[in-house]
């Protein structure tokens, strides 16, 4: 036994975890070869690009955008931090500490986790980084620069890894010790996701000046690593003190965070979970609650129970909300016309209705089998398709209809279109919501039992059953496209470039064209919903478990 046995154990733990991880990816040798070829080509491409930039700077044809690189470095550090924190959460579960802790000391397991998490993120990135460093160094005729770039990037990534793993462990510890934190963890993550999306749109929409953001990103100590990386270049002047600051951060930060992370990992693995009984309670799915009072005369108990269960699940694990989060990417379609016109145009109302409809379809319809997967043998042998599909559609429409109506009317209050038209847009949007959930149900029912696998739900720390691979995105795209096709009349009606000529040809006003487009879309959505619903019911009734 040498003195470095503990290090060897940690490396072995990381290597085994890495090998298992690769095997779990289930990639065939040709796909691995393609990935390696793409990575190699990317690295060569990055190297050539960096070489050209370096040469331009060497010939003094351009100046290195120092401030932008510093801002990008800080942004990259934050992204790495998030990536490491997420990977650490999965990595700890993957490495199975319960077994290892009975075999080797906790310190070795913790170090193994650090090595595994660090290598799993950085190994694929190392080749392009090397390409950039070597290319840029040769372009500027400063070979030593390659070394300083590699050192700076490596140290920054080690710091971000340690900090990311530490943050993940803090979250683990808090959720172990406090049932309250555990309860709100998923919700907080969802709120953070929404806030970050809003911030993103605020920046691209011009509400937050880019200069203001860049200034703040440059102040952070992570920006010092740019100076350190460029220290080896004689042609580029970098701040010596800032480079020294970066070195101080490395010398003090890496040992400090390593010790802290190991200590915290031991604490997490030894922590006694606090009993959560006081915070858990049953919420009845059949008693005389509000939904029972409102709907019991109109829908069957089985249908209502399906809907109530779905709402309860969503409250505890906001899976539908996360899927519907994709629609945030479409929000510029609502506010960009407002910024452009200086008022709220009709198209913003219509697009908002479309977004709500898409969201409700994705949230409630797309994942109907994934949500039901753990109990599918029971569901299939307890109810028939009509009840299940009706319950799912009902769950979606009851949530999305009020949100859509309120949203459209709120936007309509600030627009110049008449109140009758606003109400009609709201009604059409509600019908679209119903159509969207029905459509998503029919498409979601097409997923084979074999296709489901356990996947982590982003930001929530929970795992759910979902269809893997690109097929899930194809289905998602199909819902959006088929919904958009039905919405073509209203999009046409509310885009003046289309409605104007149509009004001229028909010798009528644009308002009439818009109203006709609303009626046409409503009829289309309602009509197509019927066979779509029947298809979904049929697929449920024929669904088999091999």
């Amino acid at each position: 036994m040498t003195q470095l046995t503990w290090l060897w154990h940690s490396i072995q733990i990381a290597r085994t975890a890495q090998t298992r991880s690769w095997r779990q990816l289930d990639r065939s040798p040709p796909i691995r070869a393609v990935i390696a070829a793409v990575l190699f080509s990317l690295s060569v491409g990055c190297g050539i690009g960096a070489y050209n930039i370096g040469e331009v700077i060497y010939r003094k044809q351009a100046v290195l955008p120092f401030s932008s690189i510093q801002a990008a470095t800080t942004a990259g550090f934050l992204m790495l931090l998030w990536l490491f924190a997420r990977r650490a959460s999965k990595g700890i579960e993957h490495i199975n500490p319960d077994f290892l802790l009975t075999t080797v000391p906790a310190r070795e397991v913790a170090l193994g986790v650090i090595f595994f998490v660090y290598s799993s993120v950085t190994v694929p990135l190392s080749l392009p980084v090397l390409g950039v460093a070597i290319g840029f160094a040769f372009g500027t005729r400063s070979p030593t620069g390659a070394l300083t770039i590699v050192v700076a990037i490596s140290c920054l990534s080690i710091l971000s890894a340690l900090l990311g793993i530490w943050i993940c462990l803090v979250a683990e510890l808090l959720t172990t010790l406090s049932p309250r934190v555990r309860r709100y963890r998923g919700l907080l993550s969802t709120i953070m996701f929404v806030l970050l999306s809003v911030m993103y749109f605020a920046v691209i929409g011009g509400l937050v000046p880019v200069n203001f953001l860049t200034k703040w990103l440059n102040i952070l100590p992570t920006a010092w690593f740019v100076d350190l990386g460029l220290l080896g270049f004689s042609e580029i002047r970098s701040g010596l003190f800032r480079s020294l600051g970066a070195l101080c951060l490395i010398v003090s930060g890496i040992p400090f965070f390593t010790v802290m992370t190991i200590a915290l990992a031991k604490r997490v693995w030894q922590a006694e979970p606090v009993n959560s009984r006081t915070l858990h309670r049953s919420r009845s799915l059949v008693d005389e609650g509000l939904s029972e009072q409102l709907f019991s005369g109109y829908v069957s108990r089985a249908t209502l129970t399906i809907a109530r269960k779905r709402w309860l699940q969503e409250r505890r694990v906001p899976r539908g909300l996360m899927v519907a989060g994709y629609i945030l990417l479409a929000l510029p379609g609502v506010f960009l016309p407002i910024l452009d016109a200086g008022e709220i145009p009709g198209i913003s109302l219509v697009f908002f209705g479309f977004i709500c409809a898409t969201g409700s379809g994705l949230a409630f319809g797309m994942e109907l089998l994934g949500v039901e997967y753990p109990v599918l043998p029971m569901t299939l042998t307890t109810i028939h398709g009509q009840q299940f599909i009706r319950g799912t559609i009902f769950a979606g429409v009851v949530i999305s209809a009020p949100i859509t109506t309120v949203g459209v009317i709120a936007l309509g209050l600030g627009s110049s279109i008449s109140s009758v038209e606003v109400i009609l847009v709201a009604l059409t949007s509600v019908v679209l919501c119903m159509y969207s959930v029905t459509l998503a149900c029919a498409i979601g029912m097409g997923v084979s039992y074999y296709e489901f696998r356990v996947v982590p739900l982003p930001f929530t720390g929970t795992a759910v059953h979902a269809e893997g691979g690109r097929e899930s995105f194809i289905r998602l795209g199909a819902v959006v496209i088929l919904l958009a096709l039905v919405c073509l009349p209203i999009f046409g009606g509310y885009l003046s470039v289309i409605s104007g000529p149509v009004a001229t040809v028909l010798d009528t006003s644009i308002v009439v064209v818009r109203l006709c487009s609303l009626v046409l879309t409503t009829i289309l959505a309602a009509t197509i919903s019927v066979p779509t619903y029947r298809l979904a019911v049929k697929l449920f009734n024929q669904y088999s478990i091999p």
Partner: protein, 258 residues
């Protein structure tokens, strides 16, 4: 036990591409029977149960559950309860919510749901944990929840795949008592298990499946009497005897000759 058949199959067969999971299965199980369904791993027991519950369609052959064809799942679901090997329950719900969910789906009245949940939770010693999330349950508690779910709507036919798996001795005894009561009241229990003493104690009829074929069927006592060697007395001995290749081939050639 009465003469009305709860489960009947006629040449039920299931192929998966080149593999045959179940072949020419013929069953005639009267109401009130506890049918012990035995077989080694991969014999086709789960496939048979899935066909009988309408979850998988047979390649050929037919079957009826409580007089309803298994090809019409809608028709058979009011008559059946099913506990698969892995209990179909949600981690994010509590046991009470899970059982209310099932009761609601079965269209039971509110009072019936609450009464049955209360009785069964008490009987299986789960009442204290009924309002805790299932994610915090042990394997045995999950199994109890799944079992209560399969029984709570009082179906005519119950399919149980390893119902005593993971249960402590007290809970296992409760399960045995409950199953005997159910059968006495006319419920048919289709019990698939590897725990042979449990089957031997409970089952009125035992069927042994081997490589997709039913190689032996009868009451445990009759099956034991059939054994040639006098020292082979238990159902376990019968199981080992009939689930070997030699005996299987011998039986097969005898069937062909007959």
């Amino acid at each position: 036990m009465n003469g009305k058949l709860s489960i009947s199959t006629d040449s039920l067969t299931k192929h998966y591409s080149t593999t045959t999971a179940v072949i020419d299965l013929n069953l005639a199980i009267p109401a009130g029977t506890i049918y012990g369904f035995l077989g080694p791993n991969g014999a086709g027991k789960t496939t048979t149960i899935r066909m009988l519950t309408g979850l998988t369609m047979p390649t050929c052959g037919t079957a009826k559950i409580a007089g309803q064809s298994i090809s019409d799942r809608k028709a058979i679901i009011p008559h059946i309860g099913y506990l698969p090997e892995s209990p179909p329950i949600y981690n994010e719900l509590t046991a009470r919510e899970q059982l209310e969910y099932h009761g609601g789906l079965c269209d039971m009245s509110l009072s019936d749901i609450q009464d049955r949940i209360s009785i069964l939770l008490n009987r299986f010693g789960l009442i204290e944990h009924a309002d805790k999330r299932i994610s915090t349950y042990s394997k045995g508690m999950r199994q109890k929840t799944g079992l209560i779910q399969a029984l709570m709507h009082e179906p005519e036919v119950i399919f149980l795949d390893e119902p005593t798996s993971g249960l402590d001795p007290r809970a296992a005894r409760t399960v045995r008592e409950v199953l005997i009561e159910l059968a006495d009241n006319g419920t048919t229990v289709f019990l698939s298990s590897h725990i042979l003493p449990v089957v031997e104690e409970l089952a009125t009829v035992v069927g042994i499946l081997y490589e997709g074929s039913l190689v032996a069927e009868g009451s445990p006592d009759v099956l034991k009497e059939r054994m040639i060697s006098s020292d082979e007395q238990t159902l376990e001995d019968v199981f080992f005897k009939v689930t070997t290749d030699d005996v299987y081939k011998e039986n097969e050639s005898r069937d062909i000759l007959e």
